[in-house]
């Protein structure tokens, strides 16, 4: 079937409109970040880089960025270990309940975020766990595991089994084979999975608000609170723009490293 000329032109226009719709708010955000006015008034009155300096010197922003980086790094490390173990078990072993593993892993992102958030919060309260960076990390790691798992299992499916079998035939035990044959084969999948998990952790806010204590703020949480304070809005513009870039760059890198198998929908 060949689409008629009119249909093709209509589809091209619809595509252009949809892409513009997707990018328009991000462009407006970028323009506002360079607007010298303290008030959010359209059109912008000029061009300045001043708010970037002000954002970088804001102690609350710095603390929030450090918290976000720490939470992202810790959650990603946990997700890398758990996601790789689960993917290796599911892909290389046959056992009862194998199909339900991926369902279990995807549950934290398949259920509405507010449910995961309040479930974790209630549990921490019930067991008297102090809220802080560690509770944030536990929440983030929970929904980051599936990202690593998806990347690693896609790679394991494509990795040929013969080198592993050869290694076993030559007398290597399972751990040595894993360390010297399988792990190097998964390296880029781990890298891209880790980048995506970090990106997800870095901008998560719906669950984070439930698992953070009163004293700990991540950068999206800082933005959420600062939106209510009109004098802070020029700094919010800058921080939001930087947050967009920091959440998109890892995804772009992951896409370059692992090609099509990365950055799929299952975030």
């Amino acid at each position: 079937m060949v689409e008629s000329r009119a249909v093709r032109i209509a589809l091209r226009i619809a595509t252009a409109l949809a892409v513009s719709f997707l990018y328009m708010p991000l462009v407006i955000l970028a323009i506002y970040a360079f607007n010298p006015s303290r008030l959010l008034v359209w059109p912008p009155t000029g061009f300045t880089l001043g708010w970037f300096g002000e954002a970088a010197a804001n102690p609350a922003v710095i603390r929030a960025v450090i918290n976000s980086l720490l939470a992202g790094a810790l959650a990603t490390s946990i997700a890398l270990v758990l996601g790789t173990l689960a993917a290796y078990a599911v892909q290389r072993y046959r056992f009862f309940g194998r199909e339900s593993i991926s369902f279990l892993l995807v549950l934290p992102i398949a259920l509405p975020g507010v449910v995961t958030g309040i479930a974790l919060r209630t549990t921490f309260t019930t067991f008297g766990v102090d809220f802080g960076l560690m509770t944030i990390v536990i929440g983030h790691a929970t929904f980051c595991v599936v990202i690593v798992y998806n990347n690693v299992i896609a790679r394991l499916r494509r990795l040929p089994r013969s080198p592993e079998e050869a290694s076993a035939d030559l007398g290597a035990d399972a751990a040595t084979t894993f360390r010297r044959i399988t792990l190097p084969g998964m390296r880029t999948a781990l890298l891209s999975g880790g980048l995506l998990a970090f990106a997800l952790s870095f901008d998560e806010v719906i669950v984070t608000i439930f698992t953070a204590g009163p004293g700990t703020q991540t950068i999206p949480m800082w933005i959420y609170q600062a939106i209510g304070r009109p004098t802070e809005l020029p700094v919010v513009n800058v921080v939001a723009l930087v947050l967009v870039l920091l959440s998109v760059i890892p995804v772009w890198l992951a896409q370059r490293i692992a090609g099509g198998e990365a950055a799929s929908l299952s975030r």
Partner: protein
Amino acid sequence: MTWLHPRRGLQLRLLLAGPIGWLGVVYLGALLILLLNAFWTKDSFTGRVEPFSWTLDAFDSLITVEVYRTIAIRTVVMAILVTATDALIAFPIAYYMARIASARTRGLLVIAVLMPLWAAYLAKVYAWRTIIQGKGPLEWVLAPFGIAGPGLDEIANTWLVLSYLWLPYMILPIYASLERIPGSLLEASSDLGARAGSTFRRVILPLAFPGVVAGSIFTFSLTLGDYITPDLVSDTKFIGNVIYDNSSLGSLPLAAAYSLLPVAIMIVYLLVARRLGAFESL
């Protein structure tokens, strides 16, 4: 029969201990505790929930207090509206990507859709807030036509912004399902005398439907679970807002009971989606 091999069995247990311990025990355990809290009593004096003090009070107030019913219906209607809107916008672009664009353009478009999907959620909501609010770009565009801006208290803002946020989640599965349709099938259809219109209706649309259902899992679940967008761009409450408001200051049993509603909806939704073959398009 690897599970009979003792060494393999031990290896498997070591491999799975961590992941199952974390997600099976900690996460499912957390969901179980949430479920239990829905049936426990809140001490009106200390404000703490008394474990194992069984009651159906929370469910009773959810059913009898009218505002909770209104909010539940509003949230589900919003999820349906957002899903329909995204399906309508997503289908043409997904079709263009899968069937018309060159390989190069297709690759670029996939990235162009992925980037906004991953871009920081809160930054996107905030960007819309600056667009919609008074003296913002929207008012500036509408002013020459003599139309007033909507301001930040319209429920339609939530519909617009949620549709924006989840659009990429709808485009990608539809694209994936369209891309998988073999060309030979379409040739067969036209060889058998079908015109373009009926090939579209009777071959392409049925095969793309699982993709739409797959996308709708995301648009539905994400809409049911969001409380930040409604808070930032309108003044209307949704299920998520009630859960959030009651989670620390109000009644935790009420929040727990209310959060069972989106879970139940999503479980039914996932079961139906699986029957419609949507899981292959995820």
